[in-house]
């Protein structure tokens, strides 16, 4: 209730309504633990039972009556207006005028800065906004020495006129060109005026500077006025401004089409990523349907490589070869030719292992040829992924977030079956971008290897 009065600006207490009434008996204090509101309601009900129900709910309670007669103490400062003399430093005649100035009395600031009460030392408060631009000006001697032959199309008279006008209008070239009327001179554009002024300024800066470095540091010398750029800009703005409705419509259509294409592309990208997740899942090989005829597969594989692929340069010498061993050598050469380095060869091996393929056990022509081709395809896969990483990193450097790369860090949750445990799941093909998961997995693999091989290795060592 009192809140509403505060809003309306009526003094607290609601004396009007209670005037003339007998002050009510002070209500009993609420017992401890009972909130004021709850207590008030129960009291009201009590009084309703007593007979004066309607009033009971509305009449301010004893608590609301508290401070009823208090008057708001006004401690605010008093503001007075005074008739004060002032001068305006922007004037040259030193004319003194008077105006009303707001002045505070009491605890307030003596003057209110920033208003017209803020005259500083008798000077007009707004005089500080009377800024004069700093222009470059030349003396007659300088003109004769430096500027006469700068641009023969300008006479000294016209240049004087230009500088006079520029000073008058604070270098506002648009206004100057608007008012330009130099008798006997040609028509001048804004660019003409700017070129003239800035080239003169540049010459003056360079001539007056104590060192070439000092001159070179000046804005006008560093970035000389480029009239052609200005003109181009205006032409571009003009064409933009002069588009017909049809052209604008066409443009809007193109833009909306671009948006549509981008939207579609995003959706495609999303679908692609989803596909990538399944394609790069570690158990993907189980999803491949078995070939219809193994004989077809064998025949196809035998086409992929000759009985004994050529190793190194030159034809094979007649003689006996162990096919499996020969293919392994050729495969190593292939890996070396692709990129070289033991690490790369290891990555190929790892990729094949992840796909459940070992070096040929049964070294028939078909198995060896298929295996060699698989390695070739794996090299291709690794190469494409490397390109992808390059582009990806370039995009990252540009501040884009191109999502993740499929097959880079897609570690499937570990399988629980015992058979799968023996061969730890790893990054599909050991990508460059490693996540925490993959490194912990590598660690696991290491410990597993250690368990398997340490005993025998240790024995071997002691035997020797």
């Amino acid at each position: 209730m009192s809140d509403a009065k505060d809003i309306l600006g009526i003094p607290r207490g609601g004396t009007a309504s209670t005037k003339g009434k007998k002050p009510r008996e002070p209500a009993a204090k609420p017992p401890k633990g009972v909130s004021r509101e709850v207590w008030q309601i129960t009291q009201d009900r009590q009084s309703a039972l007593d007979g004066n129900d309607a009033l009971a709910a509305i009449a301010p309670s004893a608590i609301a009556l508290h401070g009823l007669k208090d008057k708001r103490k006004i401690t605010a400062r008093t503001v007075t207006w005074q008739w004060m003399p002032f001068r305006n430093s922007a004037r040259s005649d030193g004319l003194q005028l008077k105006h009303w100035v707001k002045r505070a009395v009491g605890g307030a600031q003596p003057t209110l800065m920033g208003t017209n009460g803020g005259d500083v030392g008798g000077d007009y408060a707004f005089a500080k906004y009377n800024k004069k631009i700093e222009m470059f000006k030349y003396t007659t001697e300088e003109y004769e020495r430096l500027l006469r032959h700068l641009d023969e199309s300008w006479s000294k008279e016209e240049t004087d006129y230009l500088f006079e006008q520029l000073e008058r209008f604070d270098l506002r070239f648009i206004i100057v060109v608007d008012r330009w009327s130099f008798e006997g001179g040609p028509n001048r554009t804004v660019e003409d005026l700017k070129v003239r002024y800035y080239s003169i300024a540049k010459v003056l800066i360079e001539a007056r500077a104590e060192s070439p470095e000092e001159a070179a540091a000046h804005q006008i010398v560093k970035m000389p006025f480029n009239a052609q750029h200005e003109l181009d800009r205006k032409v571009a703005l003009n064409t933009l401004l002069n588009r017909t409705n049809g052209e604008m419509k066409e443009e809007a259509e193109i833009l909306s089409k671009v948006k549509e294409i981008e939207k579609r592309r995003r959706a495609e990208n999303q679908a692609l990523l989803q596909k990538a997740v399944s394609v790069f899942s570690t158990s993907r090989t189980h999803m491949v349907q078995n070939p219809v005829s193994i004989d077809d597969v064998r025949a196809e594989f035998e086409q992929l490589a000759p009985e004994l692929p050529v190793k190194g340069s030159g034809a094979l010498k007649p003689g006996a070869y162990l096919r499996g061993q020969h293919f392994v050598t050729v495969a190593n050469e292939q890996a070396n030719a692709a990129q070289g380095g033991a690490r790369f060869a290891k990555r190929i091996d790892q990729s094949l292992e992840d796909l459940g393929v070992t070096n040929p056990v049964m070294s028939t022509h078909a198995v060896c040829a298929g295996w060699l081709k698989l390695r070739e395809e794996t090299i291709e896969l690794l190469r494409v992924r490397k390109q992808l990483v390059t582009v990806y990193e370039r995009l990252l450097a540009k501040g884009k977030t191109p999502g993740y790369i499929p097959g880079m860090a897609d570690v499937e949750p570990k399988k629980t079956s015992a058979a799968e445990k023996a061969v730890p799941v790893r990054v599909a093909s050991s990508g460059e971008i490693k996540r925490e998961d993959s490194s912990t997995l590598t660690l696991k693999r290491k410990t597993q290897d250690a368990v398997g091989g340490r005993v025998q290795k240790a024995q071997k060592m002691t035997r020797r």
Binding site: L273, K275, R298, Y321, G324, G356, V361, Q387
Partner: protein
Amino acid sequence: MTPAPSTHTQAVIVGTIAYYLGKKADEYHSHRWTVYVRGVDGEDLSRCVRAVTFALHPSFDEPTRRLEHAPYEVTETGWGEFDIGVKIEFTEDSGAGFVETTTPLKLFPSAEEIAKHGQQTTKKPLIKERYEEIVFHECESGFYKRMKGQAAKKAPKSEHDAVWGSFKEKPELVSIYAAREVTRERIKVLKQQLEVLESIDANT
């Protein structure tokens, strides 16, 4: 498979077989093992093989063992695994000389194998072998004719005849087939992705 005229292919199996000695094992002799070169399905190799030489670990007595007659086997006891050198010399008329390779001696099953077949016993041998094909590239025509004309004899008996494994090409072909399918699928997806990223790259 139609080998070029004058190219003869001879399948051989190279490997090791190891028995755990169980109670009889002592510190330096936990396994009894045999390294061998044999033909497929008991085929006699001596028609084209003159001798097989195994290079054992130098800690054995006479580490180089040359065998001129089948069965081409060396049996030893020991406790350590190592790679055994295998040199197969061919009959003079082949004009091919010899080939060399190695085969790992395996005595202890891997964790995977234990999970599959249970702990090592004295009865069940551990076999680690591989099927190789010796390709006589542009061999002497006399040799070629002899190989074609003469049916292979049965190899002399070996004490391991009962436990030799057999090789099946199909599962290996199928796994390579599946791996190739997956790899090609992955290449395709990556290329699409590359295209997308490159177009983003080009437009920014």
